[in-house]
């Protein structure tokens, strides 16, 4: 799993590719938490993500718990349908702002 990172208008955009499973979720969590700690609003652009398991959801929850008291925001974008289903089934869709694509998420957080 690879994660690219870009800054756009004060928003950090992390773009993981491949799979976030229990073997790779630790790296994903590390990068997410670093972005949140840096004081950024963070978009996770999932356009290149083929798979996520509950380990990935846990990583997002850890980051969200850190972001909240600091006034940070984490938005998710471009989920493939089976990934969206995982978020819906687990009730995680109500924990995050979700957008159809990266630019829409960046625009919402930069506003």
């Amino acid at each position: 799993m690879n994660i690219t990172e870009e800054q756009t208008g004060g928003v950090a955009v992390l773009k993981p590719s491949g799979r976030i499973d229990s073997a790779t979720a630790g790296e994903f969590e590390k990068r997410l938490v670093a972005a949140v700690d840096a004081g950024n609003r963070v978009v996770v652009d999932m356009a290149q993500l083929g798979y996520i398991s509950s380990a990935g959801l846990r990583a997002l929850l850890v980051a969200a718990k850190k972001a909240r008291p600091a006034g940070g925001r984490i938005a998710l974008a471009a989920m493939a349908p089976p990934i969206r289903e995982v978020f819906d089934l687990s009730g995680f869709s109500s924990l995050f702002e979700i957008y159809p694509d990266g630019p829409a998420a960046v625009a919402a957080l930069a506003a």
Binding site: D21, S22, A23, P82, L89, S90, L95
Partner: protein
Amino acid sequence: MGTRLEVVLDNDLAELERLAGAVDDFVDAAGLPPEVAFKLNLCFDELITNTVTYGYPDGGRHAIRVRLEAEGREIRAEVEDDAAAFDPFTEAPPPDLDSDVDTRRVGGLGVYLVQRSVDRATYRRDGGRNLVHLALAVPP
């Protein structure tokens, strides 16, 4: 005529990627849509992650067997290990699906996702082995 697959894994989370590749190929060979591979991989991932994480208090290298069979649109899968006795469907904590960010817990979520992904998920213990059986009918 059915399609069959058996994969033997070490009790190592790094093996999940290899299993996923084999499952992707299996689903393709069975003429089924890729979302089915996603569901199966999610189930195997969640079950095997729990086994690897909690099932071997004495450590050591152990084999985990995954068997997959497709007859038309009916899929059966079995995950077998010799880890500590554990029935995920009665012993895992209930999932927390609606607490807010501050109080939400993720324990039990993996097993819940397994149960929501397939039509039938059962456990039995036999000869010192855990056997989890999954059944899924793919809608046309």
